[in-house]
């Protein structure tokens, strides 16, 4: 792959990451009022407040020559200037970011990174399972529908996908929960948490069986949403590919239909599909938030909602940063993959 193409894409990603960090900083400084007030009970003394402010670095100017007045509004104060050029919250927080210090959580007295790390693996497990299932099933449906375009299977799968596409995933999760995890339907599977609470697992195998039983409903919900999109992408990619000249040539050579599809159409149609799917990573993480909330899955989605309710802004800030960074990196990988698979875009 051309190194200029690679460098340009990587450089763009680094710039985007920096812009996200800056946006993240200002977004949370826009919050009205003094964060210390929402952190401490009402009856604490001014000294205690001041001590917390110093500890959190909130006594520093926000930006060179920009300070937060006692009323909580941001004001310009040039008298702080020579000093505030270097000692301000912006530079401090950017410096902390470089060493991956995201600050302390308000509600749990742990570093933000640790809190997020506790919730990372459940989300990876959920999203990973759903993505693999949806990839296989979605692509298979797409191939069949695109190949037999206009058939009953095709219109069925398109219409199904369009309907599924309009369903909010969290609501789909609620329906599945109602039908398969409560006695109102058939209580087949557990619908809450990742393991049965209070249960002591005798061996790792029993533990994993328990986790997988809990995983089925949320992963199915998320996968159903992804299948619709994947099938539609793969189908339209198949339809486009089957129109190409080399497919006609392959037919002219006397290959059977099945050979044409397997050897020529599918590999080429997979190409754009795989990249589009890599690009949808942000959507998958977004969809996982609602699904996790419905099934109280202890992942980053549930953590996001908890952080919002507890006004735990350092955690929220860290989550936004990490999720956005994941999406940017996924996009970069998609770009590179596409450049690798399709030499035409490498210039």
């Amino acid at each position: 792959m051309g190194s200029a193409y690679l460098l340009r894409k990587a450089g763009g990603a680094v710039l985007t990451l920096f812009a996200i960090a800056v946006l993240n900083f200002f977004l949370f400084r826009m919050l009205p009022g003094d964060p210390v007030n929402s952190l401490l009970p009402r009856n604490v003394s001014q000294e205690q407040k001041q001590a917390l402010r110093t500890r959190l670095g909130l006594d520093q100017p926000v930006f060179p020559a920009v300070v937060r007045s006692s009323s909580g509004a941001l004001t310009v104060d040039f008298s702080t200037l020579p000093d505030s050029l270097l000692h301000n919250q912006f530079l401090t927080s950017m410096g902390n970011l470089l060493v991956l210090d995201l600050g302390m959580s308000y509600s749990e007295s742990k570093p933000v990174l640790e809190v997020i790390n506790d919730h990372l693996w459940p989300t990876v497990l959920l999203v990973g399972t759903a993505e693999v299932v949806a990839l296989v099933i979605g692509i298979l449906i797409g191939i069949r529908a695109g190949w037999r375009r206009g058939s009953r299977f095709d219109s069925l799968s398109i219409n199904g996908s369009l309907v599924l596409y309009a369903v909010p995933l969290f609501w789909l999760g609620m329906l599945l929960f109602y039908l398969f995890a409560t006695p109102n339907g058939i209580a087949l599977l557990p619908g809450q948490q990742m393991v049965t609470p209070g249960l002591r697992h005798s061996d790792p195998l029993a533990y994993w069986v328990d986790v997988i039983r809990h995983l089925i409903l949320p992963a199915t919900t998320l996968a159903l949403g992804l299948i619709a999109g994947n099938a539609l992408i793969m189908r339209s990619s198949m339809v486009e590919t089957l129109k190409d000249d080399y497919v006609t040539t392959a037919r002219a050579k006397g290959l059977t239909d099945a050979q044409v599809v397997r050897r020529h159409a599918i590999p080429n149609a997979l190409l754009p599909t795989v990249t589009v799917i890599a690009l949808t990573f942000g959507y998958v993480l977004g969809g996982a938030i609602g699904v996790e909330e419905v099934f109280s899955w202890p992942g980053m989605g549930t953590l996001t909602i908890d952080a919002i309710h507890d006004k735990d802004f350092p955690v929220l800030q860290g989550l936004f940063l990490i999720i956005a960074a994941c999406v940017v990196i996924a996009n970069l990988i998609a770009d590179m993959l596409y450049g690798y698979l399709d030499p035409r875009v490498r210039t």
């Binding site: 826009m30 206009g150 369009l162 609620m174 999109g229 589009v276």
Partner: protein, 333 residues
């Protein structure tokens, strides 16, 4: 200036276009279905609240009633009639969708037209700005913004508008790029019209169809986003939307209590409305791109429902540029 204006499609041409559009919608069973569904919901949103009266805040009814003739969808935990609440929620959900997408259309079209018409450095910077917002995960950004701004109807509308515009800006920009090269724009430039005037008088009318088509998709996206935000607890607390009903039903344990009439109707409503907008959006694409119509006629698919246009437009793959995740982003949740 009249000489310049006549170059743009005249009134007669426009009337013809309207007739043409209706013909496409009528000829396509799916988009017709979309129009029927949407009309029904708009009627409910506009007239419904007058027919069912206000949401009973005094909680005169018994809480958690099952559906009956008196309370079609039963009542919630404070005794509100859920049928009445859903009727009012229809109005709020549609309103949020409409206002938020109008706002996002204005931002998106403004930036898209400016970038496409001005070109050069303007284009580069504006598109860099757009792409930046485009990569950010929609729902996560919306959640964070909503948490920072606080829950109210206005804030939710603002949040949706801020997160939804980049897709529009990109589409409008590429359309503007082709219009910029057209003769009537050159002519306007030759008469000494300013860039701002040309963008308003020559470019805007010619991308307007596309803006409208995009709005249908944006409204669906906005309704989707509002529902999800409300369900996750950062939506408006001063009015009922479908998402808020779902949030309350979930929080009250309607799932384990077996109160299906509490959470099924609002969800079905979201699905129907979003589906209707998607189907209509597909028809719009056909209207704007007559090639799709021809291809469809040529396709050997007599009678059977064909949403090739829908599939193609939702997920168009533009080789050799990297395909976009637009269609996914649009859902946001």
């Amino acid at each position: 200036m009249t000489a310049v204006s006549t170059a743009a499609p005249g009134r007669r041409g426009r009337r013809h276009a309207w007739y043409d559009s209706w013909a496409v919608i009528r000829g396509n069973r799916q988009s017709l279905l979309g129009v029927v569904i949407l009309t029904a919901f708009v009627l409910i949103a506009v007239l419904g609240p007058f027919l069912v009266g206000p949401i009973d805040k005094a909680a005169a009814n018994k809480p958690l009633l099952s559906p009956s003739m008196a309370h079609l969808f039963g009542t919630d935990r404070s005794g509100r009639d859920l049928f009445v609440t859903n009727i009012w929620a229809t109005r709020i959900s549609l309103l949020v969708g409409l206002v938020a997408s109008l706002l996002s259309m204005i931002i998106g079209a403004g930036i898209g037209i400016s970038a496409g018409y001005l070109g050069g450095r303007w284009d580069a910077w504006l598109m860099r700005f757009t792409d930046f917002f485009y990569v950010l995960p929609t729902l996560v950004l919306a959640l964070v913004l909503a948490a920072v701004l606080g829950p109210s109807l206005t804030n939710v509308i603002i949040v949706i508008a801020i997160t939804a515009w980049p897709a529009t800006a990109r589409v409008i920009r590429s359309q503007t790029l082709t219009i910029r090269e057209r003769m009537f724009v050159d002519r306007a430039r030759a008469t000494g019209a300013s860039s701002l005037r040309i963008m308003r008088r020559q470019v805007l009318p010619n991308v307007f169809g596309l803006v409208l088509a995009n709005t249908t998709l944006t409204i669906a996206e906005a309704i989707f986003l509002e529902t999800t935000l409300s369900f996750l607890g950062v939506g408006p607390k001063d009015s009922y939307s479908w998402g808020r009903i779902l949030d309350e039903s979930f929080a009250a344990g309607a799932l384990t209590l077996g109160k299906w009439a509490w959470f099924v109707p609002p969800g079905v409503a979201v699905v129907l409305v979003v589906l209707a907008f998607t189907l209509i959006g597909a028809a719009f694409d056909e209207i704007l791109d007559p090639r799709l119509r021809r291809r469809k006629r040529g396709a050997a698919d007599p009678g059977g429902p064909d949403v090739t246009a829908a599939g193609g437009s939702l997920l168009s793959i533009e080789s050799p540029s990297v395909p976009t995740s637009e269609s996914f982003d649009r859902r946001g949740g």
